[in-house]
Symmetry: C2
Subunit: 231 residues, 2 copies
Amino acid sequence: MPETVSQQTTPPEPAAGYEPTGRTIPTRSRERASYDRETVHSILDAAYLCHLGFVRDGAPVVLPTLFGRVGERLYVHGSTGSRPLRAADGNDAGLAVCLTVTHVDGLVLARSAFHHSLNYRSVVVHGTAYTVTDPEERRIALDAIVDQVVPGRSEDARPADGKELAATAVIRLDLREVSAKIRTGGPNDDPQDIGLPHWSGVVPVAPAFAAPVPADDLDPAIEVPAYLNAL
Amino acid sequence: MPETVSQQTTPPEPAAGYEPTGRTIPTRSRERASYDRETVHSILDAAYLCHLGFVRDGAPVVLPTLFGRVGERLYVHGSTGSRPLRAADGNDAGLAVCLTVTHVDGLVLARSAFHHSLNYRSVVVHGTAYTVTDPEERRIALDAIVDQVVPGRSEDARPADGKELAATAVIRLDLREVSAKIRTGGPNDDPQDIGLPHWSGVVPVAPAFAAPVPADDLDPAIEVPAYLNAL
């Protein structure tokens, strides 16, 4: 009944894309850049590891770490003693960070060394990270980080107790200044190179999971859960 | 003939490890850190993608990029128009960078959310990157970057011509302030959690290569080279 549908009050849709800024517009290969929200989300959601950059004593630091996405927010956790989390804590100005996620999808071998490349999907998020203090938001963030690695796992694990929560810092980074970059397809050889005798093409790459290895002390009666077989 | 051997002048061996510094000594999980040269090299050599961090207008930037290792030097290349390479160029002081390489080897699922982790091998290199101008070193660097992706490939591709070389910037980062970090093994569950009904263990992860896909315009007479089958 179209009449009824047309009368429904629909919530305002978030913009379909992120607003490009000076630092999210690439200086090269602009045709590979995307600001589409769904594209960004899908690249983030296919990952659980990010590389988090921050500045310490004027110099850049890049550390690999887990992250979780909840809507338009990314969360990173760590020991309250770890450097970026300590730097963000109690700092009302937050911590300037760059959070980058990269998937390699293929090795691109062209006839010319110059046109060698990778097929990849990456997301770069610029912004300011703030320490999360609200207990409920911290709980949601910690669950999201576990579920980012293995969807569904947070419900099948003992939640953090008071002591563990006290030892864990959580920082939040909003998805505002964001871009994705994607390369797909075969090599872009120059026309005059097509006849060269070198193999040209793509070697696809993807992460592969092997059969889960139970802990030595796991009760043999506990079977591999369905959410692991889904990997 | 031991006498002869004892009389040989042996070149000074490079130190077996890198000297730890304030920023390569981790604030946590110190038992996972290593400064052993062979360990660092093996982690770097198993990779071709790094995350390069630098500071732009006071804020951190982290970009995924290819790299190559030649002895104690890492090389990164890019368009002469790309940001980090432009920043390093013509700057006698070089560009402060942090270059990080990470391999994920397994998802570590503990009974407690708190003890979830990854098995991983990472290397973090701090230092100053300088633009490489010497033509011979540039050639070696560009070959190394191609061979880091597919060992042996640089000999089976057309080398860069003058125009391509002019469009390519190369930066060098020496391996001086370097650390590796490695986690292996099963989950570190607390003793009081062992009896909980949650599956606990490790899901191994590794990159998997699929069969090479020839370019659409590849002469069918050109077979897949041995160095690709070796992947």
